[in-house]
Symmetry: C2
Subunit: 211 residues, 2 copies
């Protein structure tokens, strides 16, 4: 059992180290020896857990999407409306880009031309936003003249773009700036107060997932 | 003179080929022999014009920012209001991501972790949007309660995010989808009709720069 626990810890250390290196250097620029050294394990241990850089990146992307999914579920549990849950999740996800190298790498790999098919986190986010928007439409929370796919594209684009800007200027990824995004999107998105209560921006503390 | 013209053509072919390869493979993944082969020139000719991959990428980024600047100036010349010019330029820029490999590479390199300091096009876009928004504010075209830096961040993030989504799904970068983005941003951005005429989405044909 102790051996199994050690194997789990080694695997987690490798995923975290790989995420840090992928986020900083990109997929093509990431070196497996650098990753194993950063994780504090031997090259042999890395290859015992992951057959290739491709497999390691796929595991980082899968872990990022899993964490994002759990973040979304926690936000959903605490929100009164679907649109509020959307705002909380989107804000929490952008702040997690700063706090969690795995989420950061998930987004970076989504936009990295050298990592083909690395868009798992982006695709998860797009599917999640679309499902929520469709539900919000059904519940009467959405303005009647906003098509679900248009709303989805705008929300996913805005969050993906914040991540790109945040990579160049970390100050962009602050609670204040991220909340301001929603002052643009919500007035168009939300049904007038007669149909449903207009959700507010996120209340502090905003969800910030650990590892 | 014929020799000089040939040198200019060779240089242009190299910049275009490099842009295509950077956009498709990323900075770290791009190979100089692949670029020279695609440009139809020898490796020696490539090295005569560019000392390194770094220099070649810098030239692609500079060319992308120059073309974006010319696109912005043409849009400005044809727009009645500053906000209309903003909408036209942003739409034209996103459509140019599809049509022009140099603009596409300029954006891709801005978000490529393996290309350090490759954010020239993104920084140009951010500075241009900010200047225009400040002018629009001065002219009374902007809603009074929208801070210029907030508007700038939202607009730049939305366009950068469209580019990221467009790399995964080319259909996102259509006139229709890109115009829909503005139906979200403009109502919040523009001053009420009493203060200035509300700009409409882009009229066809939208600006699409060639090479």
């Amino acid at each position: 059992m102790a051996k199994q626990a050690r194997a789990v810890r080694t695997r987690q250390a490798l995923v975290r180290a790989a995420a840090e290196v992928f986020a900083a250097e990109g997929y093509a620029g990431a070196s497996l020896p650098v990753i194993s050294e950063r994780a504090g394990v031997s090259n042999g241990a890395l290859h015992f857990h992951f057959a290739s850089k491709h497999d390691l990146a796929a595991e980082v992307e899968r872990t990022a999407a899993d964490r994002a999914q759990r973040l979304a579920e926690r936000c959903r549990g605490r929100s009164d409306t679907l649109l509020q849950s959307l705002v909380h999740t989107a804000c929490g996800l952008l702040l997690a880009v700063v706090a969690d190298p795995v989420i950061r790498a998930g987004f970076r790999l989504s936009g990295d031309p050298s990592r083909k098919d690395g868009t798992r986190l982006l695709r998860w986010w797009q599917a999640w936003v679309h499902e929520l928007v469709v539900q919000a439409q059904r519940e009467g929370e959405l303005a009647r003249d906003v098509p679900a796919d248009v709303a989805t594209t705008v929300i996913v684009a805005a969050t993906a773009g914040f991540e790109v800007m945040g990579a160049a200027d970390r100050d962009v990824l602050s609670v204040e700036r991220v909340t301001q995004l929603w002052t643009f999107v919500l007035p168009r998105l939300a049904a007038p107060p007669d149909h449903a209560s207009t959700p507010q921006g996120p209340r502090a503390p905003v969800e910030q997932p650990g590892d």
